[in-house]
Structure formats: C-alpha cells, structure tokens
Amino acid sequence: MIVVNLDVMMAKRKISSGELAAKVGITQANLSILKNQKAKAVRFSTLNDICKALDCQPGDILEFRED
C-alpha cells in the first residue's frame, strides 16, 4: 500500500495544516483526507504544489509498504 507521510514532512518543516493548505491551494478538509490515508488518488498538480511548499521530493511524502 501507498502511505502518505505528509505529517512527518510537515513536522520537519514546522508548518501547520492551515498554512500548508493555503500555500498548496486546497482545503484543510482535503489536506486532512490526504494526511489520514483516506485519499484514493493525488493529482500531479497537487503533489507538485505540496513538494514546492515543503521543499521536498514526492518520495519524501509517498512511501510503498507491503500490506
């Protein structure tokens, strides 16, 4: 399964959910869906904006783990 390590990266960058949501241009509710592993898919544009806001690579946010 694909695990979203967004909260880890956010903690590293010391950025709040509200701040990140504002920078990426998504709602806090959607950011919460992403953080809680509830998302079914992530658009490349959203991933691009998150990586830009957190100054990281997609691999820092997404991780593959065996079920």
């Binding site: 998504i26 959607n30 950011l31 869906i33 998302a39 079914k40 898919a41 992530v42 658009r43």
Partner: protein, 150 residues
C-alpha cells in the same frame, strides 16, 4: 433542472395512481381472480381458484414493494440525492420484488397460461432494473473516487 423536476413530479403522481390501482385490485381481488379463473382460465374447481387467488394476492404484495420503492426513489431524485447507496438499495428491492413476482406468476402459470407471460415480463423488467442498479453502483464508486482525489 426544471424540465426533470416536472418529469419526476408526474412520475410520482403516476406511482401514487398505480398504488391506488393495486389497492383497488386488492379490494376486488376475489372477484378479479374468479373472473380470470372462470372466464379466461376456464378453471372451475375451488382448490385451483383459491391457489390463483393466493398467487394474485402475493403478486400485489410484490407490487406494493415495487411501487413504494419507486416512490422513495423518485423522492430521492427530487431532493437531488441521485448517486447514493440508498437508491441502489431501493433498486435491489425492486429487482427482488420483480423476481418474486416472476416466481409467483410461474406458480400461477400452472393454472392460467396467461400468467407465464406476466412471469417473463416481470423477469425482463427485473433485468432492466438490475442493469440500471449496476450502472448506478459503478457511478457511485467513480464519484467516491473522484471525491477522494486530492
């Protein structure tokens, strides 16, 4: 959306009228089944007439399930609740009731041949409703995935 609202309103009125027709059929059920038995099926022994009456009343129970589910379905549509699991459950109830009516009509077919045609029609309608249900299920799954795409 106004055009669709009109269709839904008329469909609801038609459904209520059909419910009223089934109620009337229930009230005069014994007369109707006797007419079918004596005039159409040309059956005169009491046992078979009673079986035909029971088959008729079981069929009308199925009719109530279908019509009430249809009314709820149309009410959901008028409230803009379209791609919802509630609607697919109602469609499943309609399909089940239609299959039940088909089985009921097959039993009736042994007494009156016209009942076979009703059984085939009920099964055919059940197949159509089942197909629509599958389409709705797919659409709901796609909608859920879309809603959870960030």
């Amino acid at each position: 959306m106004r055009y669709n609202d009109g269709i839904i309103r008329w469909a609801k009125i038609a459904t209520v009228m059909f419910i009223a027709m089934v109620v009337v059929a229930d009230i005069f059920g014994i007369i109707i089944t006797r007419y079918i038995a004596y005039c159409w099926a040309e059956v005169f022994d009491m046992l078979r007439v009673v079986i035909l009456t029971v088959v008729f009343y079981i069929g009308t129970v199925g009719g109530y399930f279908i019509l009430i589910s249809l009314f709820k379905l149309l009410s959901n549509m008028s409230k803009d609740v379209v791609f919802d699991r509630k609607n697919t459950k109602l469609m499943a109830v309609i399909t089940g009731a239609l299959v039940g009516i088909a089985v009921d009509c097959v039993i009736g077919g042994f007494i009156w041949n016209g009942s076979w045609i009703l059984a085939i029609l009920a099964l055919f309608m059940g197949l159509i409703v089942l197909s629509v249900k599958v389409v709705f299920d797919k659409a709901i799954t796609m909608k859920e995935e879309m809603d959870l795409t960030i």
